[in-house]
Every structure is written in structure tokens, then in C-alpha cells.
């Protein structure tokens, strides 16, 4: 840049939660700002908050010039917000001046100016050294005075005079037909214009704030929801959040051991967003309860927003599956916020959730169920709201679990589809209907950044909480419940039959072997007998031959014969089997 740096516009903090953030510091110091809106939109409250915060927190006394409410009425109205106006007035931190303009009392004749008003205001400012001024609603002058020409000229002079005084000023104005203010105040106040809006859509009111103009300053141009409750006015600059949040690779348990296993063995990522969707009664709340319980067991804080059930109801129901949440509530680790979806608008819900989260500082947030918010607004709005909530939660590193009720036959429904893109982990609870019963099943539809199980698990609600077991997945499809039990029994029976058959065959073989062995033994015995017989036959034969020779020799000796080899060969016979047998007989 060539030109020298220009001094940044000085800003005065309003102390209104969120407003100073979206305006990057508050209202322009020493200049008038216009706050306009319809009846009941919170203009006066905005103005008085600006003043009271100035007096109590920023050491800037203020003057409140009311053209509508009397000082007593005003003090009463803001007492409910914890503002002690009488006390502040007594301590000279605030001056309240009620300017009553009664048309019927006033007759106009000829030329006049509003110098008296200047004097009054100047006197009030000087009496306490005020740095802030509120004019609420100066447009009332238009109904009290008829000479518009004078009035307009005097208003122009008034705003210039206020600038010269160097007080930071809030001027309220009633919203007009097609214009920001009914009498065109925006013409005179050109530094900052803030529009408050109170809209009723489908019988539900939503308050919004928009910075129409802020000369010399960057500002968000969105409509910001704001709320008015017992703590005053709060603007939520949620839409200004980006995607720059840090991510954690830390894992936290789901509270269900088997589910941890399905999610790569460790559970959810810290700071991620989990959607648990399913049809009615599929066990969404139980999964959520496990999650809360696990967080509290780790000593972390859990904040639960209920849209359909009361905290007592949830605790009773969860106790029936063995999850006792009461001790955590007693120890201040667990907090429930229950509100009907129709109790207020979506923005209001969002705002309330923000506030509660800011105050409680949980590490885990549960929304049960987000789908019921759909009854309040159109799907696009819900999507936007949840997106902002998720952004906010992620930016603060809070792990969030949302449940969503899906209707209809296909489990993946449009409501889920609307929010599924913003969640990191999506668990789908399904009811598997077969053979006259409904059984619960769970699978991980998506889990960003982790290798998760693709298996469906049967989901049982037991006295000790949720239990996930393997389903039967085979040729006949996925079976659960009694069908699974039957199938398993059938398989066991079939296996038994097979086993028995094998045993039978084994026994048969064993018998066969016995027979074989026996026969082998018999044959061997026969063989051995034969062998022995043969051996003894040979021996006998040889003995006989030897004897015969001996005998012949004896005979020859006795006969003195010479024919020694006459007939000394043994007799040879052929038996029926053709075996040559030698024998003595």
C-alpha cells in the first residue's frame, strides 16, 4: 500500500454477547448508531444492555432518554434481566430521563426549535460525565409534533451535536413499511445501522439481527440469530465459523466394546461428529447412553440435549439396560437439557445449545434426536443449523453424537441424507424382519479416517447394556434372532449327523481291520504249520533215506551181494495237486 495507514475506527464494546464479535469490537465510538426493528423485537433491550454494560463493565456512564416508557416501567422491565437500574441511577452511573410527548397537550404556534431537548440531554450527559447515550425511540417526536420540517432539521442538528459531544449513541427506530424506520431516521444516522427482526414462521418465533450498514468497518452481513432470556440479549455469530478447526487423532470409546472393535478397534475420533440413525425402537438412544456413560467414566463432561424425552425418562429407560446415569448427574459430569422442538425456532434451539455448551464446557455432546427438529423447520434450514452446530462443536473439539429417526422402508432416508454429509461416522441401526420377529442390527455406514468393519452385527439390548454379536450370514442371507438361533441349531445338527456317519464308518473300518488281522493270523498259522510239517517231513525223509541205505548195506553185507546200486532210489509218486511229494509211504 502506498498511502499511509489510516487509524482504525475506534469501537465501543456493547458487552452484548456475540455482538462485539460480529462487529469486530462493537459500535463506532463517539457516533450514533441506529438500532431498528418492529415492535417487540428487542430494540429497547439492546439499547439498555449497551448502557448498563457500559456503566458496570466498561466504566462508561450513560444516559437513557426514553420517549416511550416511563423510568419506573423501564426499571421494572429490565429488572428481570438482573439489571439494577435504580441502583445505577443512585450511584450516578446512569441517568434516566423520560421525555413525554403528548399531542393533546401541545399547541403549536409559529416557529420553534428543540433546543430544550438538547439542553436536557446535555445536562444529563454532563451531570454524570456520560460516554454513552440512548434515545429510545426518538421517532415518538413525529407523533407529538406536527411541524415535520422543523423536526427533521432539528434531528439532523441533534445527531451532529451528539457527534460533537463525542458520545457513543444508540438510537432506536420503529421499522417502517418498506423502509428501515418509519420516519427515515436512517437518513440522519449514517454510521451504523442494525436491524433486529422478530419473525414468526409456522407459529414459531425467531429473532434475528443483521448489520445493514457499518461505515468504515468490516462486518458480517449475515442474519445472526439472537436470543433474549434471563441473562439478557445474546447474538450468536455462528455463521462466521469456517472449516479451519484443528483435528484430533485421539480416539475415544463408544462405550460398547464390540463397537470399538468395529471402528478399527479404538472407537470414535475425538472432536468428530457421529450420526446414529435408525427406525423407531432400533436402539439409538441406548447407543447414545453408552457414549455418555463412557465419557463420564473417563471423568469428562457430557451435555445432552433431549428433544423428545424428559431427563427422568431417559435415566429410567437406560437403567433398565444397566446404564445408571444418575451418579454422573449427581457428580455434575452429566447435564440434560430437554426442550420440545416446537418450543422455539430452530435458531433459538441453536442459540440455546450454544449457550449451554459455552457454560457447561462439555467434551461430549449428545443430541437426541435431531430429526425431530425437522418438525420445526424445513429440511434446508435444519441442515444449515446442524451444519453450523457441527462446525461450532468441531471448532471447540467437542465430540458430538446425534441420533436421527428414519422412517419408511429404506433405512437410509432423506433426513439422514441431509445431515450425513456433515458427519464423520455414521452408524446405522436397522431392524431386520424375518419369520415373524424384528431384530436389531447395526453396521457402520461410514467412518471417515479409519478402516472400519463392513460387517453387520446383531444388536442385543441386555440387562448389561448393548451387546453386539455376529449375525448368521450364509447362503440363506443374513439371519438374526430366532432365525439365527434356528439356523445355528440346524447347522449344529447337520454337523452332528456328519460326525456320527464318520464315526460309523470308522467303526466299520476298524471291524474290517479286525477281520483282516484275524484272517491274516489264521493264514500265517496255517502257513507256519505247513512250513513246520514240511521241515519235519524233510527231516524224516532224510532220516529214512539214511536208514534205508544203512539197511541195504546191512542186507548186502548180510547177503554178500555185489549189486550195490540195484534198487536204492526212493519211490516217487505224483499226487492230485501235481505237487511233487516225497514221502516214506
Amino acid at each position: 500500500m502506498d498511502h499511509p495507514p489510516v487509524a482504525k475506527l475506534a469501537k465501543t464494546r456493547t458487552g452484548i454477547e456475540g455482538f462485539d464479535e460480529i462487529t469486530d469490537g462493537g459500535l463506532p465510538t463517539g457516533r450514533p448508531s441506529l438500532v431498528c426493528g418492529g415492535a417487540g423485537c428487542g430494540k429497547t433491550l439492546f439499547a439498555i444492555s449497551f448502557l448498563v454494560h457500559g456503566a458496570t463493565r466498561f466504566d462508561e456512564p450513560g444516559v437513557f432518554m426514553s420517549f416511550e416508557e416511563s423510568t419506573d416501567e423501564l426499571a421494572q422491565n429490565v429488572a428481570s434481566l438482573g439489571f439494577d437500574l435504580p441502583g445505577l441511577i443512585q450511584n450516578k452511573r446512569i441517568v434516566l430521563d423520560h421525555v413525554r410527548v403528548e399531542r393533546s397537550e401541545i399547541e403549536e404556534t409559529g416557529d420553534y426549535d428543540l433546543e430544550a431537548l438538547f439542553i436536557r440531554l446535555g445536562y444529563a450527559i454532563d451531570s454524570i460525565g456520560a460516554r454513552r447515550v440512548v434515545l429510545d425511540t426518538i421517532e415518538s417526536l413525529f407523533s407529538g409534533l406536527t411541524n415535520q420540517g422543523i423536526l427533521r432539521a432539528e434531528l439532523r442538528r441533534l445527531f451532529r451535536w451528539l457527534k460533537d459531544k463525542g458520545v457513543t449513541c444508540v438510537i432506536t427506530g420503529e421499522r417502517g413499511e418498506g423502509t428501515l424506520t418509519r420516519h427515515g431516521l436512517e437518513e440522519y444516522v449514517s454510521d451504523a445501522v442494525i436491524l433486529l427482526d422478530h419473525r414468526v414462521i409456522d407459529e414459531i418465533s425467531t429473532r434475528r439481527l443483521r448489520i445493514v450498514k457499518y461505515r468504515g468497518s468490516a462486518h458480517g452481513t449475515n442474519e445472526y440469530p439472537f436470543l433474549i432470556d434471563e441473562d439478557g440479549i445474546a447474538v450468536l455469530p455462528v455463521t462466521s465459523l469456517g472449516l479451519g478447526h484443528a483435528v484430533s487423532s485421539e480416539r475415544i470409546s463408544t462405550g460398547i466394546a464390540r463397537l470399538d472393535t468395529m471402528l478399527a478397534g479404538k472407537g470414535y475420533f475425538r472432536g468428530s461428529t457421529i450420526l446414529v440413525s435408525g427406525t423407531a425402537g432400533s436402539g439409538k438412544s441406548s447407543v447414545a447412553a453408552h457414549f455418555m456413560d463412557a465419557a463420564c467414566r473417563r471423568g469428562e463432561r457430557a451435555l445432552v440435549f433431549l428433544f423428545e424425552e424428559s431427563p427422568a425418562q431417559v435415566m429410567r429407560n437406560m437403567k433398565s439396560i444397566g446404564i445408571d446415569l444418575q451418579p454422573w448427574v449427581d457428580r455434575g459430569l452429566l447435564e440434560f437439557h430437554a426442550a420440545r422442538p416446537s418450543a422455539c425456532g430452530l435458531e433459538m434451539h441453536l442459540s440455546r445449545m450454544h449457550r449451554a455448551i459455552d457454560r457447561f464446557g462439555p467434551s461430549v455432546v449428545v443430541l437426541d434426536p435431531v430429526s425431530s427438529l425437522l418438525g420445526v423447520s424445513a429440511a434446508a434450514d435444519v441442515h444449515g443449523t446442524l451444519m453450523r452446530l457441527v462446525d461450532f462443536l468441531k471448532s471447540t473439539g467437542i465430540t458430538a453424537l446425534m441420533t436421527s429417526l428414519s422412517h419408511g422402508k429404506t433405512e437410509v432416508e432423506r433426513t439422514d441424507a441431509a445431515i450425513s454429509s456433515i458427519v464423520d461416522t455414521w452408524l446405522l441401526l436397522v431392524t431386520l424382519e424375518s419369520s415373524g420377529e424384528r431384530n436389531r442390527g447395526l453396521y457402520v455406514l461410514k467412518a471417515r479416517g479409519m478402516s472400519h468393519s463392513n460387517q453387520i452385527r446383531e444388536f442385543l439390548l441386555t440387562d448389561d447394556g448393548v451387546e453386539l454379536i455376529d449375525v448368521y450370514a450364509g447362503a440363506r442371507g443374513v439371519l438374526t434372532g430366532s432365525a439365527r438361533v434356528t439356523q445355528e441349531a440346524e447347522e449344529r445338527a447337520a454337523a452332528l449327523v456328519d460326525e456320527q456317519e464318520l464315526e460309523r464308518r470308522q467303526r466299520a473300518l476298524a471291524r474290517l481291520k479286525t477281520v483282516f488281522d484275524a484272517e491274516l493270523a489264521a493264514l500265517r498259522a496255517k502257513f507256519e504249520t505247513e512250513q513246520a510239517d514240511l521241515a519235519s517231513g524233510i527231516t524224516q525223509h532224510r532220516a529214512r533215506v539214511a536208514r534205508l541205505k544203512e539197511d541195504k548195506r546191512d542186507v548186502a553185507r548180510s547177503r554178500r551181494a555185489d549189486a550195490a546200486n540195484g534198487d536204492d532210489r526212493p519211490k516217487r509218486t505224483d499226487d492230485a495237486r501235481g505237487t511233487v511229494r516225497y514221502g516214506s509211504d
Binding site: 410527548v101 397537550e105 420553534y112
Partner: protein
């Protein structure tokens, strides 16, 4: 309420006892031509229509700024009729005599 009497031009006549008294208070902010004109007009009207039955107090808010709130004064000049009730206010330089008289609930003596 305390009121400082200011007489920009001449002295205002004192209210005469016995008559129906009008207590008139004229608020001005400094000695502007408009203030002076208003006071002159007021005096003339009173002399013409309320002779002896009125009293005028002039309050300069530049000198007594805190008095503005008491009578709910916004514009100057403002003429306030405090008595008799009800309180009436007439703003402007009082140049229109008829309107001033209507404002003061005084029938113009014609």
C-alpha cells in the same frame, strides 16, 4: 417548584388579587430573537385578553437546564399554563394569537 423569573424586555405585570389567575411559564433558551418575539407576543396577548389576571414566569434553560425535565419541555419557546388545570403547553413564538388563546382556554374577547 422554584422558578427564576427572567424578564427579557419589560417587566411583567403582577397578578391582581381577586381575578381568575393564570400562571404562565415561558421557557426559553437564551436571548434569541425567537425568545424575545415569544415574550413580546405573550405579553401583548395577556394584556389584551387577561389583563390583571395573569402572571408570567420566564425560565431560561441555558441557565437552569435541570428545570426542563420537570415540565417535560422539549421545544423552545414553550409556554406552559400550570394553573388552572389541566396543564397546557403552547410551543412556538406565539405569533398566532388565536391559537394561543385556544391553547390557554381563553375565549377571545370579540
Amino acid at each position: 417548584m422554584e422558578a427564576t423569573e427572567e424578564r427579557p424586555s419589560s417587566t411583567a405585570p403582577e397578578a391582581e388579587p381577586g381575578g381568575e389567575s393564570q400562571i404562565l411559564r415561558l421557557y426559553i433558551a437564551g436571548q434569541t430573537p425567537r425568545s424575545i418575539a415569544a415574550f413580546a407576543n405573550l405579553k401583548r396577548i395577556c394584556e389584551e385578553h387577561l389583563a390583571g389576571r395573569y402572571r408570567i414566569e420566564v425560565i431560561d434553560l441555558v441557565q437552569n437546564p435541570k428545570l426542563a425535565a420537570g415540565d417535560q419541555i422539549l421545544a423552545v419557546p414553550t409556554l406552559v399554563r400550570r394553573l388552572p388545570e389541566p396543564v397546557r403547553k403552547i410551543i412556538g413564538d406565539l405569533s398566532n394569537t388565536d391559537r394561543v388563546l385556544v391553547g390557554l382556554d381563553v375565549r377571545p374577547a370579540r
